[in-house]
């Protein structure tokens, strides 16, 4: 699986949505991505990429695209 696929997977499995629906998705844009869902998403991403995110990055993680930016800039995940 490519990193992009792993990344998309974390979203589709945590929030039970399709790949199509991940595009442009924002925090609290769907009911599943609330504060509880957010921590589940973080856990899924940390497992998928074997990383540990900083609290600041968890807070800044505000959309599907922003998350990719954070992972590639700070956690060396190449997409």
């Amino acid at each position: 699986m490519t990193n992009k696929e792993k990344y998309v997977n974390a979203f589709t499995e945590t929030f039970d949505i399709t790949e199509e629906e991940t595009k442009g998705l924002q925090y609290s844009g769907i009911s599943a991505w609330d504060s509880v869902g957010h921590m589940s998403l973080v856990a899924a991403l940390e497992d998928a990429f074997d990383i540990m995110m900083d609290t600041d990055d968890i807070i800044d993680f505000s959309s599907f695209e922003k998350g990719m930016e954070i992972l590639s800039e700070k956690y060396d995940v190449e997409f």
Binding site: S28, D34, S35, V36, M52, T55, I59
Partner: protein, 363 residues
Amino acid sequence: MNFEEMLQRTPYSFSKEEKEAVLTERLSELTEKHRVSCPPYGNILRSAGYERGRIGSYKELPFLPVRLFKELELKSVPDDQIVKTMTSSGTTGQAVSKIYLDRVTSANQQKVMVKIVSDFTGSSRMPMIILDCPSVVKNRLMFSARGAGILGFSIFGAKRIYALDDDMKLNVEGLKAFLDKYRGQRIFLFGFTFMIWQHFYKELVRLKQEGITFDLSDGVLIHGGGWKKLISEAVSPEEFKRCLTDVCGLSHVHDYYGMVEQTGCIYMECECGHLHASIFSDVIMRRPLDFSECEVGEKGIIQVVSTLPESYPGHSLLTEDEGIVLGEDDCPCGRKGKYFKVIGRLKNAEIRGCSDTYAEKFR
């Protein structure tokens, strides 16, 4: 200084004068914002004789009795901007406060909470034991104070386990496995004071008699929710700490004071046993007779102010708790700002008396 700039500062870095200026600016702004956007709040200000230009210090701003959030729906944003509603804990049948959060307020609560707690635990995330049951966070549309607390603190948990099952039984096997897996790492524990005492501490004591022990000497525990329910058990804060150290070696224990109406701005207990106000909020003790400000060392009713609430007019509140300011800017732990202690809840009759006196102000 705007709010974004405040977020760049460390949470206990303002001296009295700097804090006074920053809070006065921000809290006056919030008062004005809510006056315009929340009509019931505007009415209250009008009956309180509030005049915009005459506020010289944040200490002169009007405050709402905290129970008003049980009686009125107070919000300053349209319904479609509300992303989360939080409720105060209350026994069945009792009215609960409802606090409406928009995206900005909700995010700022989390940011400020992280800044405050990191000052005590460091900013790295740790394996986390939640001393509660998973069902507390089940209803995702309506968060109780307990659920909100757990969620807020969960950001510090790198891996998380609930210590109790939904029947409030300690998950002994799960806990053992978790501690084995993360041995040698600092463990973060979080829970509510009474729940910890009732369902964790007492069970550990019982297990110890059976020869089952836990070593939590690498742990740091943060707990909140108040001591009211523990009074009948005659457990003092000192006793609470001593007992936990005795039974499982846990020695880094911090109490905190906070309320669902001002989530995010918690008051953490430092190494000297004092609760501290950060740059994002403050406490003012008030004399019950005329609501003038108490001297240092004088007991009064606690008013809390917070720079966070943008979606509801909860930036200046009179609580139903009593406390004493112990000092300002000079706690031996080195943190600036006021440090204080909470004595406890006002009795119901006192609260009624107090609301009557307070109601007088609005006539």
